[in-house]
Symmetry: C2
Subunit: 255 residues, 2 copies
């Protein structure tokens, strides 16, 4: 059996009791943390918590050579710990389908995710979020985050913009860089959805004890230091008065 | 201090280690479970897990008379346990803002949520979900879920449809009733987005050990028994081949 267990948003403490039970009961435990950044994760503490060794796997193992994982899952119970909510990355879906097609039972243990923590932590209504997108690094440019924002903004919806990462290179995009890339896209595309006057919400280390939520104009937040990654952005659409109040009271916005 | 702690999707085990730590360290613990259904929740087991009494509060207390909660939060640490991810319900946002404006510090501990578990459990890509909506009971009719589906379908996006509940009356809408209400809306509105031929995914007890994911045509799934609530629906938009495969392999769809 192959069980995908979400580690949530921060360190070890985003693990649910269900996830902990599964991992403690597993014959083998693997951990990937390249599809997303899990700040404050300490491998030694994780092994102590689970009472067993944890093998860290990278993209190469998971995407090209998951043979050992599958072979073990045929004989016993394998838990694959993943940062954030499992199956949000295509890699996990592929691996799950490969296992199922080989007759290996699979299960998924949900955990906290930026997708629902973003509304939760900002006070913005979850049903008013349109589709989300990721802002890629400049060397891999894409208009998708801008197009997504245009589409959502036209309908008054909020947009969650995740920021690119390359765990192998230790690169994690920060809020300021994300805003600059969006301003560059604005300059090229010119639809007026992301300007220095646009209201934006920065989420830094969502779900961590030192997590931050700051709301304000791009002009003002662009140069601010929000501390270490992960960061993400929300561009609010049409605001209900309660949402506006939440951005003022929780995010310190001057609106 | 007032800390909102998410209980996740099922019983006690959706609680995260961070949530458990907060609740164990609290001076007072409250639980509301009317904004969402937490299947398999046992109050006695919860109190044993936390090592302290838990006071259950209903809509009346939380929305009209949260005076005791706020007064205690001024003097010590209050944890309010909520089903699903906290702050998804407006009630939580209102209470949080009231507390903050009275100078009471607040915090939010995220937990698993149907918003991210729906992509996670179905294998549908999270960034392809448009806005979500709730299908209300027939005595409180609304075209919002239908309009939302029209809007998302036009852009090839997936739609998560949550189902209404009235915990006070013990009423929880099941997938079949949700589909019938959508078919009635289709008859009135006629845009062809929800017909007996529409592909739909039923999520029953998402995040529970006996949770189910079933994909198929409305005609076929409408009369099927998915067991006890909570249920929710996903109407897929344009499917990537990996998503199509996931619905076949995981959801048993014949597509």
């Amino acid at each position: 059996m192959l069980v995908f267990v979400g580690m949530g948003l921060c360190g070890l403490e985003g693990l649910t009791l269900a996830g902990l039970r599964e991992a403690r009961g597993a014959d083998w435990v693997y951990l990937e943390h390249y599809t997303s950044l899990l700040p404050g994760l300490n491998l030694r503490s994780l092994e102590e918590l689970l009472g067993k060794p944890v093998r860290v796997v990278d993209r190469r193992v998971l995407e090209e050579g998951p043979g050992e994982i599958l072979e073990r899952a045929r004989r016993g119970k394998v838990v694959l710990l993943v940062p954030g909510d499992p199956m949000v990355a295509t890699t996990h879906v592929s691996l799950r389908l490969t296992a199922e097609k080989e007759g290996i039972a699979t299960a998924v243990i949900p955990s906290p995710s930026i997708l629902s923590a973003a509304p939760g932590l900002t006070g913005l209504q979850s049903y008013k979020f349109g589709r989300s997108a990721t802002i890629p690094f400049r060397d891999n440019p894409s208009t998708v985050p801008y197009d997504t924002l245009v589409e959502n903004a036209a309908r008054g919806l909020h947009t969650l913009l995740l920021l690119d990462l390359r765990a192998e290179e230790g690169r994690y995009m920060l809020a300021g860089e994300g805003m600059e890339i969006m301003l560059e896209l604005e300059e090229r595309m010119g639809k007026g959805v992301f300007t220095p006057d646009t209201l934006v919400v920065v989420l830094a280390r969502a779900g961590c004890p030192d997590g931050k939520v700051r709301a304000g104009r791009v002009r003002r937040l662009k140069g601010e230091d929000f501390g270490p990654p992960p960061h993400s952005l929300v561009v609010p659409g049409k605001l209900h008065f309660l949402e506006e109040e939440a951005l003022r009271v929780i995010g310190g916005a001057e609106i």
